[in-house]
Symmetry: D2
Subunit: 210 residues, 4 copies
């Protein structure tokens, strides 16, 4: 494909990412405007770069004429949460929209079942309809839902993977794993505090009503 | 309604405006990425301020519990075009999306039938579905499509109306009308040039194919 | 120059444009927050594209190693006003900052002395200091100040110039000139109304104080 | 102070935050455009809310007519880094700009000397000149420089402090401290990997040159 064709090919993906970012950020605003706790801390999104699409198509053996139907993360949305429990609330919110403005294709829970590398995140692959000059297009998009801790770790793993072209040296891999375990302990510690906050708030409300 | 309730009431409108802005800006990007002329020059949007909603509800005698169903411009999108002809191309694009991601309620062509004041613009009132925590909501939105010249005039008329609280003094009204006529002549002059451009481009393409 | 070098060369220009946009938008906010009329309606900015820099360097015979010192509009800021009189207020505000956060190199008043083509705008060429890893750099930038009407006309002239590569056919040039005159009459009409608004407001304030 | 006066009072602060955000983001862009590692991961900024200013002025016993001269964090900039070492590189970059576009008032290294609560960050208090209608104003601003891990912890501590109005219950405080220690271990682990990356890269370059 020529650069010009790639530019045109990626337009509905950019559109999907922009629309989905607006939609998930709006969920946060809705909670906040009601003075309720939002399970969403912040939202980012990106369209995969052409060089990365080409690399992945080679690695996964997807011919270029199949990437529209088969490559799932050209459009990517990332939702960050404060607590592990919030991830599942966000998943539930997305489930409720299934069949409305998006269609869930499949899900992978790398939070409960972390990857060998130490990677943790909840992935939902969706189809999202965008309107174009040639009519409606159903765009595949990957939604990653994670805690700030998981994201912190994944950001660093990603840059190391980029530097070492997927084959991180064994000793660094070990340290990365240890860091992943620390991030996991951190999330657990935070979850403990979350429960106590909820308890404290419930006690306070009961007290207020006497 | 309390400030808190207004804030909550307006959230789906903000969501609709954000989503529609992203969608119409994307139409422009699509044309550009194909090296085609875009009938859309730029897009703006706004949610009506609470004070203006209250004023309008009084003026039009809409009780507050009816504004969701009856006030059509709480969510507002403005699409600017270079030429008068482009307005009708944009209208056609919106017609093609009717029943897909938006539903057209009705239209008013103040371009062909300008208002007494001199105001010219094409208005489309739509219903646009947004997903909220309480399920889907159908939001009324007004899309205004106009040339840069129409917008230039309307911007100034709006600020005068604001300053004079809808009753602009007669002599200023007269000058404003004259200014509107000049803006109209300007648009006509531009349309003349547009035709010549199209002609010139057509001749050039025929020549290229010989 | 390689693409990589251009990218690096243009970074201080992007920085200058971003900083200047923030600064001029802030002037508008200051007036508004005091409930005063702002002479600035809106502000845009852009860094010239590499292809346009190359074209201009050829046309003006500026060797590439001299463009940093001699090309004045690589960084461009555009300030839009409602009335012709506002242009001179903005000019005055910029004069007051001379020697503080920017240095004025020279000015051209194409408002009072319009170009042969019909082009009207006030241009100020400044040097603006930005901090980089290699120390302070003084960036040349062009500030264009114009009414909405002047901008409307200039936008269309620019696209025609682009299409016809600077040699617009005579008949279209004539129509463009006529359009420019209409835009000029429109500005004059508006200035008349401005005076009346000021008069009306003064009368109103005197009345209020009796 | 009336709401209107607060709005006006805060305008130069908003201006300072906008300008400083643009400036620090630009440092990142400069490193990236040269394909060098950027010690800055991302930059955020905010102006303190009026309610928080009032609370702090009461707590620190600063009369309202002294907050311009004495309250140091009404304008706040936060710079996030991947590694602890990067913090000191950013500090060095800011030192180099001292006396140019900003003036350093004082610094506090809560990275080497963490607070009792477990809080870690590097703070630099600066004076930053902004141009206003009334002439130049020197705005106090606080720059916080921290790793993603420090930020993760501080974000959660901040929300707990907000919920418990500065008096977090003892048991939650303990868990928070433990979480802070885990975040600290995580940063240490990461620094270890950083050294190895640098080593690996140095080895690679030496090899390439043979």
């Amino acid at each position: 494909m020529l650069i010009k064709d790639w530019k045109e090919f990626l337009i509905p993906y950019e559109q999907a990412v922009e629309e989905l970012k607006v939609k998930f950020k709006s969920i946060r605003k809705q909670f906040r405007s009601k003075n309720e706790y939002s399970p969403i801390e912040f939202v980012t999104g990106r369209v995969k770069e052409v060089s990365s699409i080409l690399e992945k198509s080679k690695k996964l053996d997807i011919p270029l004429n199949r990437i529209y139907d088969e490559m799932e993360d050209i459009a990517g949305i990332r939702i960050m949460c404060q607590f592990v429990e919030d991830i599942y609330k966000v998943v539930q919110i997305i489930h409720q929209r299934n069949g409305k403005d998006l269609n869930i294709i499949y899900e992978k829970d790398y939070v409960k079942n972390k990857k060998e590398s130490g990677y943790r995140s909840y992935h939902i692959i969706i189809k999202y309809p965008v309107q174009t000059a040639e009519g409606e297009k159903e765009i595949l998009a990957e939604i990653q839902i994670r805690t700030l801790g998981m994201n912190f770790w994944a950001t660093i793993e990603h840059s190391l993977n980029y530097k070492y072209k997927q084959s991180i040296p064994e000793n660094i891999k070990e340290r990365l794993k240890k860091a992943g375990e620390l991030a996991f302990l951190l999330d657990q510690e935070m979850s403990q505090i979350k429960e106590e906050i909820v308890e404290a708030q419930t006690l306070f409300e009961i007290k207020s009503n006497i």
